[in-house]
């Protein structure tokens, strides 16, 4: 059976360079970067190299990159750590109601500690209004955490304008962005875009699972939330997962080589949208200007889970809502005001550079078959 993997926002297939870099570290360069001997120094050199590669990709200094276990850990450390370190400056935090759960749960924790958290609501296209944001920023605001690209519908925020607003408002706020779905897909330039902290994950860009990174602008203080042997400047203690970190670097190297992959994904997205538009039981939930990697749709009166299972039985893998919120109605689709019956029938298709137009034809063929065959609710 043919396999068509269209769930690349959940995770991706590891690319060849990531695989070979990982293997090399596991087989040959297996030292502990903290060891004093040559084997340790070699591992440390590799670690430095990985840091440089990731740093270069987002235009920062390698000392500003901290390797983490992935997006969730990056978000937790950035939010909880910076709030703790900036408590003396103010009490207000601004975020949105459509963040990933690793941001929302961390915010709930801060609320319990007495912080005032403001959740900005998106419009029906998933967009966060900059003027609303501006009106919330004040002198007591210490942190703004906004998702670069939304993981369920692919809407994104114009991050580069925010730093200016903060400065005009004369606010001590720093800007964190959860860029897990943006990293490697839209241009990220932390210096030009005025970003103070940025969360990344390797397995969304064809790297291995279990590794990610947090960019923290030089001079910014973060209270550690984990304690141990002092690795990663004390922020993420524990022996570095070198095979995964090396794989992360491999994935970034391949990204840099495949400069036109976003254009290809854009074409595939357009092709898919065009074919979907022919079927009047399909509703497209992603806004017109969403990132081309993510396409959220609803299929009239067919439950998400049923359609996902049906496609899965034909080797086509899509997501029934966000893979992390099994069983619950999506908070993102609810926030953009989608009626319940459309939420219950939503599926997320997410593309990668490995997908082809033939994949889309195959997907559309079975989607249509499902629409004709499956019993409606």
């Amino acid at each position: 059976m043919r396999e068509v993997y269209l769930d690349n926002s959940a995770t991706t297939r590891v690319c060849d360079t990531a695989l070979s870099e990982t293997m090399e570290v596991m087989r040959e360069n297996y030292g502990n970067p903290s060891s004093g001997h040559l084997k340790g120094v070699q591992a440390e050199n590799t670690l430095d190299l990985c840091r440089k590669t990731v740093a270069k990709f987002i235009n920062c200094d390698s000392k500003e990159i901290y390797f983490t276990s992935g997006g969730t850990q990056s978000n937790n450390i950035a939010i909880l750590g910076s709030a703790a370190a900036r408590r003396h400056l103010g009490n207000k935090i601004i975020t949105t109601s459509i963040e990933h759960s690793s941001v929302l749960r961390a915010m709930e924790k801060l609320e319990k500690q007495g912080f005032k958290v403001v959740y900005l609501k998106p419009d029906k296209y998933g967009a966060i209004s900059l003027s609303k944001l501006a009106s919330e920023i004040d002198k007591s605001t210490i942190l703004i955490s906004l998702m670069f690209v939304n993981n369920e519908i692919g809407s994104f925020i114009d991050i580069s304008k925010i730093k200016k607003i903060i400065q005009i408002k004369n606010s001590p706020a720093i800007l964190h962005t959860d860029a897990v779905q943006a990293f490697g897909k839209v241009p990220v330039n932390v210096k030009a875009q005025g970003i103070d902290m940025l969360s990344m994950s390797a397995h969304k860009i064809h790297g291995p699972k279990g590794v990610g990174a947090l960019y923290v602008s030089k001079g910014l203080r973060i209270e550690p939330i984990l304690f141990g042997g002092g690795q990663e400047s004390g922020l993420i203690p524990g022996t570095e997962p070198m095979p995964a970190i090396a794989g992360f670097r491999g994935a970034v190297i391949e990204l840099m080589k495949n400069k036109n992959s976003q254009t290809r994904i854009g074409e595939i997205n357009k092709y898919c949208r065009r074919l979907l538009a022919k079927n009047n039981s399909v509703r497209i939930n992603s806004p017109q200007n969403a990132i081309s990697n993510i396409l959220n749709i609803s299929v009239k009166r067919i439950k998400s889970e049923t359609m996902m299972n049906f496609l899965s039985s034909h080797g086509i893998y899509v997501s029934n809502g966000s893979a992390c919120s099994k069983g619950k109605r999506s908070h993102v689709l609810t926030a953009i005001g989608l009626p319940d019956e459309w939420i219950d029938s939503s599926i997320r298709i997410s593309f990668s550079r490995f997908n082809t137009k033939e994949d889309i034809d195959y997907f559309i063929k079975y989607l249509n078959e499902g629409i004709n065959k499956l019993i409606k609710f």
Partner: protein, 390 residues
């Protein structure tokens, strides 16, 4: 001093002439469970089973969790075995619990003499041992109503046993001592509890699960397997039949009136289960129905589903509240698995307004619009079998 496990057997004691065969099943169940942990001597005498490690490598701690799951035992305790004379008994008490006795405030001694040839009566033993403990541990006072610790001395044929309290066992009858029956299992909270309760009465279980992909997911099947693995910790091996049910459910949806969807579905499920059960040598079906819990479990609805089969249907939860069922499911460890949110065959195509007081004739008329035999035969030809090992 030897540490052993002392097991009191439950209802089996009350059996008449076939008591032997029940005891035999119970002992075999224990032996099979502990076999892989080392070498142990399992002896039955005077309605009490003692398990004695035969080597230093065979420990009591290793086997205790699995022994606790044996069906048919009313209580179990760790005990210390010694010779039947007072000096040995006293010495064993000091050796086994001396340090703890030294830190408590009150105690009581209970003596039981099932070896009637022993030269002292139970009250005499209690008095003697109690006096000894009082002298040896000046910190202790006697409290017969609410003591910190109860020291029990049992004089049995095989020796003297000293134990400190006992734990309740699962109860019921020995594993697979009452014949075979088939449980209809969905993945919810109720059916695993029903399966456990009948296993506890000595039923050897066969399980039937209905899968309707793509309306139900592979994870729903995984969930049922996990649930049965929990049950099998008590009941032993279970053969699971997964019935492909999609075509039948789609057909019900197409040809039957909506208000009867669930009832007709349940009647067909019972019918298929009965066929599987007969083939597997089962004499009854088991369901997790509880009277009035949902529309398909009203008295009228149960009358309608019951008459779809000729085999007896056991419904051990029929008179229980949801709370009571949940309590048992938490105790046997199935609750956390049951509450995982996956669609199962019972939640697919649920009618908006199901008939709560259906008449048998109405359902039969609605059902007769279609010849189900071909679809049922097709499902039976494509059963998926999973072995659930203890």
């Amino acid at each position: 001093m030897k540490e052993v496990i002392l097991i009191k057997i439950g209802e089996v004691v009350l059996k008449g002439l076939n008591k032997r065969s029940f005891e035999h099943k119970l002992i075999n169940d224990i032996k099979n469970r502990i076999e892989s942990f080392g070498s142990y001597d399992v002896k039955l005498s005077q309605s009490t089973i003692s398990i004695k490690p035969l080597s230093d490598a065979s420990s009591i701690d290793d086997i205790l969790p699995s022994v606790k799951k044996v069906l048919g035992i009313s209580s179990l305790s760790r005990a210390f075995l010694c010779d039947k004379n007072l000096d040995d008994i006293k010495q064993t008490i000091v050796e086994s619990l001396g340090d703890i006795l030294g830190s408590l405030q009150t105690f009581k001694v209970e003596a039981k003499r099932s070896d009637k040839k022993f030269y002292m009566t139970s009250p005499e033993i209690s008095k003697e041992i109690g006096w000894f403990i009082l002298q040896k541990f000046p910190n202790l006072k006697v409290n017969v109503h609410n003591p910190d610790i109860t020291v029990t001395v049992e004089i049995r044929d095989l020796g003297a046993y000293i134990r400190y309290g006992a734990e309740k066992g699962i109860g019921g009858l020995p594993k697979a001592s009452s014949g075979n029956a088939a449980i209809l299992i969905s993945g919810g909270i109720d059916s695993p509890v029903a399966a456990f309760m009948m296993a506890k009465r000595g039923i050897k279980l066969t399980a039937v699960h209905f899968a309707s992909p793509p309306y139900t997911s592979i994870r729903a099947e995984k969930k049922v397997i996990e649930l049965l693995e929990k049950i099998s910790e008590f009941s032993g091996y279970i053969k699971l039949f997964i019935v492909p049910f999609t075509k039948i459910q789609e057909k019900i949806r197409k040809v039957c009136p909506e208000e009867f969807f669930t009832l007709i579905m349940r009647r067909i499920m019972m019918n298929i289960s009965e066929k599987i059960a007969l083939n597997e040598g089962c004499s009854a079906l088991i369901t997790g129905e509880s009277l009035g819990q949902v529309a398909s479990q009203t008295l009228e609805a149960i009358v309608c589903t019951d008459c779809a089969v000729s085999m007896p249907v056991f419904r051990p939860l029929i008179g229980m509240d949801k709370e009571e069922i949940i309590t048992i499911s938490k105790r046997i460890g199935t609750y956390d698995i049951s509450i995982q949110p996956f669609e199962d065959c019972c939640t697919v195509f649920v009618p908006k307004h199901p008939k709560t007081k259906p008449k048998k004739e109405q359902v039969e008329t609605a059902e007769s619009k279609e010849n189900w035999d071909i679809l049922i035969e097709d499902a039976l030809q494509n059963l998926n079998i999973v072995d659930i090992k203890q």
